[in-house]
């Protein structure tokens, strides 16, 4: 009975309705209900993988209902090899967030949990929407719970951070709305995203649309130079907020490039790919150096996120220079799939890093690196996990953090030696800022009385970390299943962008 339900709608509405139930149930039962809802959603998301047809690039599990007929707006859903893994990642991460808040959030836990569950549904909506207005509604709706999470449960400077976060992302998305409406006018009133893909557009039109999308997505990823909201948002956000922000919300920007920018404006992308590549490389190198200078653990990981997301955007936009060099769009598949793998992997690793900082913050109420030292003496199990995740963050082979970067660097050599050269500096920079933090926080003699009093992780924290560690290790040792689901979609997309629309 249950399995006859349309799977994507179920995945969107189960957590949203669950969130409302949590609100109604009140503080006492909030935790348990939230856990049940999030686990249920994850279980329901598994058929997305098991029943996924890897041989086609077409949208799968499609749903189509008329929504606002007078404007030709539909409730249209579907997933392909790009969005499907991101949806499962969303469902997985939400469980961890619920667990991580268990006894830590004392202030209105029901509302906190409900906000995350509702956000889960909305984010799954973003990844599965195939109607531009539906997408836009989900896209904007996502801001509200995150705004509340940072604004209500955030740190002392939360007002500045929320306003910065809101203005940045809102400004970006307004331009996107303009672009979407223009596209719909050109498409005779249709808002179908897949229809936009095949819409012929002049180069000028494409450049304007590309620029509008770029602002929206670059803010979300975030790419240099519109990244400064992220460190502030992370620093003020509660642990769960940081986890969702880093693990899922940043990916929506990357997803946007693949779903909108590249297929709708391939010629503009080809004209302006140097800009994206430049911005991505600046993210890797410049942000890598900035991360080195951070004294706040969360800021450091936030900057590290920006640098890592640079690999995703780099991988997506290598295609045009690779076609120039080798003449085959197929050669760009490695880079694009690498970018996607990087997004998934970064979801696990950044979640783990932020959760790790959360574990320390819950005990010491400080994020300053200089307040720590010698934590490995008092929290050996925690230290072992953190060294593992730090190594993953530094891209060690055998962890998922390696796979995406490896693929993108290998492919960028095909585009240009210097792109590969600059991208590969992450090997040094990523290791430097991550392991220097490890050295200052975990190693050394016990630095002060507060560190001496630290208690190692409890069972709940251990379970969270162990789940993430297994994921990081699994995809590091065997990324095959992940890339397998992407092949058809990525090939189709690359072939599509290699043909001019003019």
């Amino acid at each position: 009975m249950l399995f006859d339900l349309p799977i994507l709608s179920t995945l969107i509405w189960t957590p949203i309705i669950g969130g409302l139930i949590v609100l109604a149930a009140g503080e006492k039962r909030a935790r348990l209900i939230s856990l049940i809802v999030s686990v249920l959603t994850f279980i329901l998301s598994i058929p997305l993988y098991t029943k996924f047809d890897t041989s086609t690039a077409a949208m799968q599990f499609p749903e189509l209902h008329s929504w606002i007929p007078s404007f030709n707006i539909n409730y249209q859903l579907g997933v392909d090899g790009i969005s499907m893994p991101l949806i499962i990642l969303t469902a997985f991460t939400t469980i961890l967030v619920v667990l991580s808040a268990w006894e830590v959030i004392k202030k209105k836990p029901d509302q906190y949990m409900a906000a995350f569950l509702i956000m889960e549904g909305v984010m799954i909506g973003v990844f599965s929407a195939l109607d531009a207005i539906l997408f836009y509604v989900f896209w904007e709706a996502m801001l509200i719970p995150m705004f509340l999470i940072i604004g209500v449960w955030g740190g002392p400077n939360r007002v500045y951070a929320t306003i910065k976060f809101f203005l940045y992302t809102f400004l970006g998305s307004v331009l996107m709305l303009v672009a979407l409406i223009y596209l719909s006018i050109r498409a005779d009133g249709s808002f179908s995203i897949l229809g936009f893909h095949t819409l012929p557009l002049s180069l000028t039109e494409q450049i304007f649309i590309f620029a509008a999308f770029l602002v929206a997505f670059a803010v979300k990823v975030p790419m240099w130079p519109v990244h400064t909201w992220l460190p502030d948002a992370h620093v003020e956000a509660p642990t769960g907020g940081s986890v969702i922000l880093a693990a899922i919300m940043l990916k929506i920007g990357g997803y946007g490039f693949l779903r909108f920018s590249l297929p709708i404006t391939p010629d503009a992308s080809s004209e302006l790919d140097w800009l994206i590549i430049l911005m991505s490389l600046v993210a890797v190198v410049y942000i890598g150096f900035v991360a080195l200078a951070q004294e706040d653990m969360k800021k450091l990981i936030a900057y590290s996120s920006i640098a890592h997301m640079g690999f995703a955007t780099l991988g997506f936009f290598l295609v045009f220079s690779i076609i120039d060099n080798t003449g085959s769009w197929r050669d760009a598949a490695l880079g694009m799939e690498g970018g996607l793998v990087q997004m998934i992997s970064h979801g696990f690793i950044s979640a783990a890093m932020f959760l790790g900082v959360g574990v320390l913050y819950d005990r010491m109420h400080t994020r300053n690196i200089s307040d720590y030292g010698g934590v490995a003496n008092t929290m050996p199990v925690f230290a072992a996990f953190m060294v593992f995740f730090s190594m993953a963050n530094a891209g060690l082979p055998g962890t998922s953090g390696f796979v995406g970067e490896f693929m993108v660097i290998l492919d960028s050599f095909k585009a240009n030696f210097w792109i590969a050269f600059l991208a590969a500096t992450t090997l040094i920079l990523g290791a430097a800022y991550t392991l220097w933090m490890v050295k200052r926080v975990l190693y050394g003699e016990v630095a002060n009385d507060n560190v001496a009093k630290l208690k190692d992780m409890n069972a709940r924290e251990f379970v969270i970390m162990a789940l993430l560690a297994s994921a990081v290790l699994f995809f590091g040792l065997y990324p095959g299943p992940l890339t397998e689901v992407m092949h058809s979609t990525v090939e189709h997309l690359l072939q599509h962008v290699s043909v001019s629309k003019i």
Binding site: K164, P225, T228, Y286, F289, V290, A291, L292, A293, Q294, R330, D331, A332, A333, L334, E337, G338, G374, A376, N377, V387, M391, L396, P397, G398, F402, V403, F406, M407, I409, L410, S412, F413, K414, F417, W418, A420, F421, A424, T425, L427, I428, A431, A432, L435, W436, K439, L442, Y443, G444, E445, L477, Y478, P479, G480, T483, E484, H487
Partner: protein
């Protein structure tokens, strides 16, 4: 056989997992039993493989274990290539590792991190085995980085020690600089051959010889040269070649067993192994070979000098390791890959022996490592004394000992090379022979002979170490003596490695030179008419004179040549330079980018600046909106008047 190949790396991995995850539960003894049996199984199976591949002469095995990933039609695989080169490496790695595992029971006896240590070294063995057994670049890079990880964990094993956690970060980062080049090299291989599989790449490589790449526009470089130099940069990191050598001496902060295993016998030789494995590529580029040769020669000579002024017993051996790695690299540079691997093998045994001997001394001295506080130990520790003497004799190339054969082969190969840089390299390796003998016997005399300079308490408690420590010493001393004589005729310049190593006809050593190396006894006789042996002898005599006969002279020399001493004592200021320029520079750039770029420019000027300018603009607008009716009325009248004026005069004209 395939199951045996798979079991070789898996057995130590299993030991590592059990000791690491369940060590706290099953206790010390069970942990080391698991770890040691894992490595022991790997060693026994390696013997089976050696017998199968080398002695029975079976065809090399090349097969896939599983497909890691497919993308763009390229199969990224985990797989094994088992040929004679691999077989030799398997024996070296598992044997030394097994000895070190057993030795660890004694050395780490009182350490609270006992299980963790066993878990790490077993994990290291797994990683190293994956590296040497790989049949493709992906897995090579996996093993390459994995041994780097374990090295990081083990150098920082005593994580409370500030020097240890400084050293492990430094080691990891310097290695990453090498890996940076290595990864770019792998990317170049994939770009130009479309494959990461050794066999496939080597098959296609000759076709690359005409191709060029423009890294700087206007300068066309040969693709093979670029690939080989990039790959070699990786080797320079792992095998600690100048200028990426700086991490190795500091790595001595880790416990001694790992200095022997990782930082002498196995991991640091990964670069040598890799270049030997890539011989079909390196043979295509004379430029790259020249580069390898010169870097190796610089390392062999100048790192040896530094060994002369060290007082820490482990650091002397560390600089000796650097210098010997330089010798191996020189061998690679003159296309004597087999000779390089031969020296790698003999060096693994005698250098592990020297390190474990030093460790035995350190145990007896209650963790004192300063040689100025030792002396006369031969009376208290006979087994350690004899085995260390054997190790030192092997190191300096005493005729008959293992190191003699491999080192003599390298010197001969350099002598007959016509590659650019070989003249310098020849002088470097010859001078190196004297230097090696001098620092080795300086250490030997300072530790085992002369007056005891330790305090009374230490002296009274001096005694030989327990059998778990001394047996590995004896077990390593045997190959340090005999292994060279056994394999010289095949490995020095013979065809031991078969298809695993390829040398182009132009780079082969002339047969009339090589024939000396066909008989171990003949070579000893022959060596007496050549001067390396006398150089080594002179080194030993000098050491004896300076440190036993006239121990007052070193101090005088030190004062007289204060300038040179200062340079050597500061290790050519390489550490200071890196600390200021690279580490300090990076931190400075980071702060500037952050404060000037993010905080001031983007946030200050653009974000908050636009917020401020909107605020400023509205504050002016606010002035206009006073709320007084007569202000508004006045403004309206002014406006009306201006409009009228414009209509009447402006439009009319």
């Amino acid at each position: 056989m395939q199951n045996i190949y798979l079991a070789i790396p898996m057995a130590p991995l299993l030991g590592a997992i059990v000791a690491g995850l369940f060590g706290w539960k099953i206790g010390r003894t069970a942990s080391h039993v698991f770890a040691i049996s894992g490595v022991a199984i790997a060693f026994l199976l390696s013997l089976v493989v050696f017998n199968h591949i080398v002695i029975d002469g079976a065809e090399p095995f090349n097969g896939t274990v599983y497909t890691w990933m497919v993308s763009n039609g390229i199969n990224f695989q985990v797989g094994f290539l088992i040929d004679k080169l691999t077989a030799v490496m398997l024996i070296v790695v598992t044997f030394v590792s097994l000895m070190v595992h057993i030795y660890t029971i004694g050395y780490m006896h009182d350490d609270p991190g006992y299980q963790r240590f066993f878990s790490y070294i077993a994990l290291f063995t797994f990683s190293m085995l994956m590296l040497v057994m790989s049949n493709n670049f992906l897995q090579l890079f996996f093993g390459w980085e994995a041994v780097g990880l374990v090295s990081y964990l083990l150098i920082g094993f005593w994580f409370k020690k500030p020097t240890a956690v400084y050293a492990n970060l430094k080691a990891f980062l310097v290695n990453r600089v090498g890996d940076f080049g290595f990864l770019l090299g792998i990317a170049a291989v994939l770009t130009y051959t479309g494959s990461l599989d050794y066999a496939e790449v080597f098959k296609l490589a000759p076709g690359l010889s005409g191709q060029t790449i423009e890294i700087f526009s206007g300068y066309a470089w040969s693709v093979t040269t670029v690939i080989c130099i990039l790959l070699f940069i990786g080797a320079m990191g792992k095998s600690a070649q100048v200028p990426l050598h700086v991490w190795l001496p500091d790595s001595m902060e880790g416990p001694t067993p790992i200095s022997a295993l990782i930082h002498a016998a196995t991991m640091v030789t990964a670069g040598i192994f890799m270049v030997a494995r890539m011989s079909p590529l390196f043979e295509l580029s004379e430029t790259a070979l020249s580069f390898v040769l010169v870097i190796g020669a610089i390392t062999a000579l100048f790192m040896g000098f530094l060994g002369l002024v060290q007082n820490d017993i482990k650091r002397v051996i560390a600089y000796s390791t650097l210098s010997q790695l330089g010798y191996m690299t020189v061998a690679l540079g003159v296309s004597a890959y087999a000779t390089g691997v031969f020296h790698l093998m003999t060096h693994a045994f005698f250098k592990a022996l020297l390190f474990l001997g030093a460790g035995s001394v350190i145990i007896a001295m209650h963790h004192e490592q300063d040689m100025r506080k030792m002396g006369g130990l031969r009376k208290y520790m006979p087994i350690t004394w004899i085995t260390s003497l054997i190790g030192s004799l092997a190191l300096i190339g005493t005729p008959g000992f293992a190191g003699f054969y491999s080192k003599d082969a390298i010197i001969t190969a350099v002598k007959h090379s016509s590659l650019p840089g070989s003249g310098f390299a020849y002088i470097a390796v010859l001078t190196g022979v004297f230097i090696t003998a001098l620092y080795s016997f300086r250490m030997y005399f300072m530790v085992f002979h002369g007056k005891g300079r330790m305090d009374d308490y230490t002296r009274e408690h001096l005694h030989e170490c327990p059998p778990v420590v001394t047996w590995p010493l004896i077990a390593l001393a045997i190959p340090s003596v005999v292994i060279g004589a056994i394999y010289v005729d095949q490995m020095a310049f013979g065809g031991f490695f078969g298809s695993a190593i390829s040398v182009s006809a132009a780079h082969q050593i002339p047969e009339e030179v090589a024939h000396h190396f066909h008989s171990w006894w003949g070579l000893i006789v022959h060596s007496l008419s050549d001067f390396p042996v006398y150089l080594a002898g002179a080194g030993v005599l000098t050491a004896w004179f300076l440190y036993i006969k006239r121990p007052d002279i070193p101090g005088v020399l030190q004062n007289k040549f204060a300038f040179i001493y200062k340079i050597l004592d500061n290790k050519y200021f390489a550490d200071r330079f890196n600390e200021i320029v690279f580490a300090g520079g990076s931190r400075l750039i980071g702060r500037i980018f952050w404060q000037a770029g993010d905080v001031k420019l983007i946030d200050g000027l653009i974000i908050n600046g636009s917020a401020r300018s909107i605020g400023w603009f509205s504050s002016i607008l606010r002035q206009i909106q006073t709320g007084y009716l007569y202000h508004y009325a006045f403004a309206m009248i002014i406006g009306l008047l201006s409009l009228l004026t414009w209509f009447v005069f402006g439009k009319g004209s």
